[in-house]
Amino acid sequence: MKTYIVQRLLIALLTLLGMSMVIFVLLRLAPGDIVDILFATAGYISPSEKQAIMKELGIDRPYVIQYLDWLHQIVTGDLGKSYRYDLPAWEVIRPLVPVTLELAALSMVFAVLLGLPAGVVSAVRQDTTLDYLLRVFSLAGLAMPSFWLGMVIILGLVTWLAWIPPLTYVSPTKDLKLHAIQFLLPALAVGYRSSALIMRITRSSLLEVMREDYIRTAWAKGQTGRIVIWRHALKNALLPVVTVIGIEFAFLIGGLVVTETVFNLPGVARFLVQAILWRDYPVVQNLVMFTAIVVILSNLIVDMLYGVLDPRVRYGG
């Protein structure tokens, strides 16, 4: 087990190093840099002035040096300076992290609460009208862009309830109720999509397990349906479900990018889009790297959970 974890951590580190290279190269492909954008509105800028700014920002140095410099910063926990805000990147990002984490966690809670029971019901009532309805419902969740769903929710509230969502972020200490509403709606919009995935995988995984001999034995012993399904079948059907939940949690950030924009929440994901548009390299680099770390960590946690959920899984063997 120990060697397995060490091995996995080493691979994770190598993958992260690779990701950092990919991210760095991709961003350098971009036409135009921050100086061009900053001065696009000012009109003319003298070449010497531009040179001075580039030097100050450190983007006149060779790419290799810039890359190594960045790596050094990541390792030492210093995330550099945001070109756009003239502040340390970490200071810009830090207040945004709780917003995104709260939204991601709420979305995931919604997704599991909706998806898991729906998947179980759909599998138990296979090929009934209820099953078809639930499947169409979940497919619809996969088809609707979450940002559009968010817009429709807002539209519905405005039209029928004459309720206008707060245009700016409300902190929980200021007005807890408004804060809750502000987060629940986008969480629902994002969570619906993930719940669809969770439902589909729960359904197919449970259907497979229900065909096994030991389930027939359980039925034959006269166990009630509830115990057979929740205690015997679901326990073994959960493995792929946990994988999907793990992957989804990491990938939520994609859904959050647009949802935070629609709902005007000052989170990391919305900020990422703005930073990309501004070519604010340090911020984008670090945010994407942050996403990569979250993805890799959640993969690692999922792998570790396997052993807890399924004693048959042996590490390193």
Partner: protein
């Protein structure tokens, strides 16, 4: 356009003497949801092809006298903030959506497929290294990668296609590789090798054709998310540039601003996106069950 061959490609496991119609009828009977998806996709393809005939107005002509108009007989789905006809824009948007979706799916799947084929066939260290590199690409959320890519490449239809296709590559490579791994061990491959057939020829002539089932499944499954990513990128202003009418961009900032005054601005493009993705997902699911039962539920 890859959609129509996919719908006809169902006969993979069917008897040679049964006609296309018999097979289609059987598909409709056995997979009603998949057939519904097929109909939706066929409608979308037809709309894209005949957009010029179906339009009632010029999709990019503005009309300052009639902005934010509600749906009526003249403008079936109303007009936007510049007085452009929404129905005609949605009809033309089908073209953009389909072209970008199909092109990026094909580009990503073909590139990924070749990588998967070679990686799986050669095996050993090459395979190991390729897999680690794919891990890196797959580690980033599809949308984040596409976002960074499209920002890096700059806005144009071509660049959006490339940006969306890159995240598809690792997914495609995985699927094809795993099917190559099992085909590689088959006796006819061994027979071909012992007859002295060159490696590349074995890979491309003997193994590749047998991965067509998973490949079709993969493409239909990815098409939906490609359409979705295009819409999202365009919504964020990083996708298909003006003047092409894109469903995603129709929902962009201006739509949000006028949503209260003209809800049809928000409703119709979103419904179009949802139906397109819904259709390709339904069709993809049914094709997966029919062509590749091993992938069921994955």
């Amino acid at each position: 356009m890859a959609v129509r061959p996919a719908a006809i490609a169902v006969p993979a496991g069917a008897r040679p003497h049964s006609g296309v119609w018999t097979i289609l009828a059987r598909f409709v009977r056995k997979k009603p949801l998949g057939a519904a998806g097929g109909v939706l996709m066929a409608l979308m393809v037809l709309t894209a092809i005949f957009a010029d005939v179906l339009q009632t107005h010029d999709p990019i002509a503005t009309n300052a006298a009639y902005t934010l108009g509600s749906p009526n007989l003249e403008h079936w789905l109303g007009t936007d903030h510049l007085g452009r006809d929404i129905y005609s824009r949605i009809v033309h948007g089908a073209r953009v959506s389909l072209v970008v979706g199909v092109a990026s799916t094909l580009l990503g799947s073909v590139l990924g497929g070749i990588i998967g084929l070679l990686s799986g066939y050669i095996g050993g260290k090459t395979d190991l290294i390729t897999q680690r590199i794919l891990d890196i690409l797959q580690g980033l959320p599809l949308l984040v990668l596409a976002l960074v890519m499209s920002a890096a490449l700059g806005p144009s239809v071509q660049n959006v296609v490339i940006a969306i296709s890159i995240p598809i590559i690792p997914r495609a490579a995985r699927v094809i590789r795993s099917s190559v791994l099992s085909i590689r061990e088959m006796q006819y491959v061994e027979a071909a090798r012992s007859l002295g057939v060159q490696h590349l020829r074995v890979a491309f002539r003997h193994i590749l054709p047998n991965t067509i089932g998973p490949f079709i499944v993969l493409c239909t499954a990815q098409l939906g998310s490609a359409i979705l990513v295009e819409a999202t990128l365009s919504y964020l202003g990083l996708g298909v540039p003006e003047p092409y009418p894109s469903w995603g961009r129709m929902l962009s900032v201006s739509a949000a601003e006028y949503a209260q005054k003209a809800p049809h601005l928000v409703l119709f493009p979103g419904i179009a996106i949802s139906l397109a993705v819904f259709g390709s997902n339904l069709l993809g699911d049914a094709l997966r069950d029919t062509l590749d039962p091993r992938l069921r539920g994955s």
